[in-house]
Symmetry: C2
Subunit: 213 residues, 2 copies
DNA sequence: GGACCCATGGCCCCAAAGGGCCATCGTCGA
DNA sequence: TCGACGATGGCCCTTTGGGGCCATGGGTCC
């Protein structure tokens, strides 16, 4: 079964939201409607089993769409945002896009346009989730390393030889080997190349040698 | 000396362009004015010695700003674009931002706002140039590899042992070693880690092992 | 035709990495 | 206090990788 793709709809206009909800359902996604930013934030925008996105009304009583967008970013929520607005202006749309909104549409919007935007948003989120899951997997492995192991690892992925690392750290080659072996085991890397890749995924220790000219 | 930062101004309104030009110069950058998209394209937007950006008027006789933007992207020009417009609309601004425009401003714009946008655009371009120069350096090294060497390299950065590569290619370990040595020499990599890094910069052969769960 | 590059590979040797076995300390939690 | 674990390291042996030296054969470019 296809993992459920959830489309959160945050709009104070119940009638409009219902229409959107139907559209979303008809397109094969799972709509969830909220009538205010606060209500949405209380729920947390969790969509356990798959990618999702949010369709935000710009103009709502209480917290406005753009403000909610910023709040979401501040909380580290990666849910892509699509704005819908009745009376938007350029600065608002530009700011929204700068912050990574997928689209900024003016009502009335043809259903097809919304569907396309949602599709793009869901795809983007699916990518983000993939990258994030890889990254967090690597992070959890990194977390299992002892400080010393991690230190040795940074030397290893910098291309240093065991003897050099030993000299730098003032310890014996045997000990470096021991740490190194532990690193490979804990990181579940079966080769130096794999270890370097894993570290790059997590953004650890860039560049093993001087940059090119 | 600071490398010259060039700000191309494409606007059919000569008076406005002159004002912009003065503003840009006062901010310490080098302005270059063009009165039409065609004129700018003919010049090519080359700014030899440093980062640059373009300030485009949306509404011009002949090719419009957004059209020029697309043309630039089609030609692989990495110059960041800032739009200025008198009568813009949301779809235009949103499309421009989706295509990577740095900003989309409505006239009249406070000089300070323009300066900030240009600063951001120049910084972005400087980054892009840095990455591009690294990338092209690696590409040129890759281009020096013989097909066989490159083939061997993909196995190497996938974490395969020489004996495994030899078996896979049906050749002797000695030959693999020879190719491998040539690869390290031509790529100017002094360690496996460095080689992997170089390849990642150029987007060659991702992931040395299965992805995490 | 000679210079050069590429692909191939045998022989040999050394350096480096991997790993087993064992041992000592010190810390920390049960 | 015992046991787990991290850090350290000696000894030893095997597998790999790196290179030197040399050779063959096939192309290509002046």
């Amino acid at each position: 079964m296809t993992p459920t793709e959830t489309v959160f709809i945050v709009d104070d206009d119940a009638t409009f939201a219902r229409g959107l909800s139907r559209l979303v359902r008809a397109a094969g996604w799972n709509p969830e409607v909220f009538s205010s930013a606060a209500e949405f934030l209380a729920h947390g925008g969790r969509c356990e089993d798959g990618p999702g996105c949010v369709i935000l009304d710009v103009k709502m009583p209480g917290m406005k769409g753009p403000e909610l967008h910023r709040t979401m970013l501040g909380r580290g929520m990666s849910l892509p945002v699509i704005f819908l607005t009745g009376h938007g202006d350029i600065p608002t749309s530009v700011d929204a896009m700068k912050l990574g909104a997928v689209d900024f549409l003016e009502k009335p919007v043809p259903g097809q346009v919304i569907v396309r935007a949602v599709r793009a948003a869901l795809d983007r989120h699916a990518d983000a989730l993939r990258r994030e899951s890889e990254r967090s997997e690597v992070e959890s492995r990194l977390a299992r390393l002892s400080p010393r192991e991690r230190e040795v690892m940074t030397y290893v992925i910098a291309g240093r030889l065991n003897k050099q690392i030993a000299a730098d750290l003032g310890i014996s080659v045997k000990t470096v080997k021991a740490h190194r072996a532990k690193v490979m085991e804990k990181m579940v890397a079966d080769s130096l190349a794999a270890l370097v890749d894993l570290c790059r995924v997590a953004g650890v220790g860039q560049r093993a040698q001087g940059r090119p000219t």
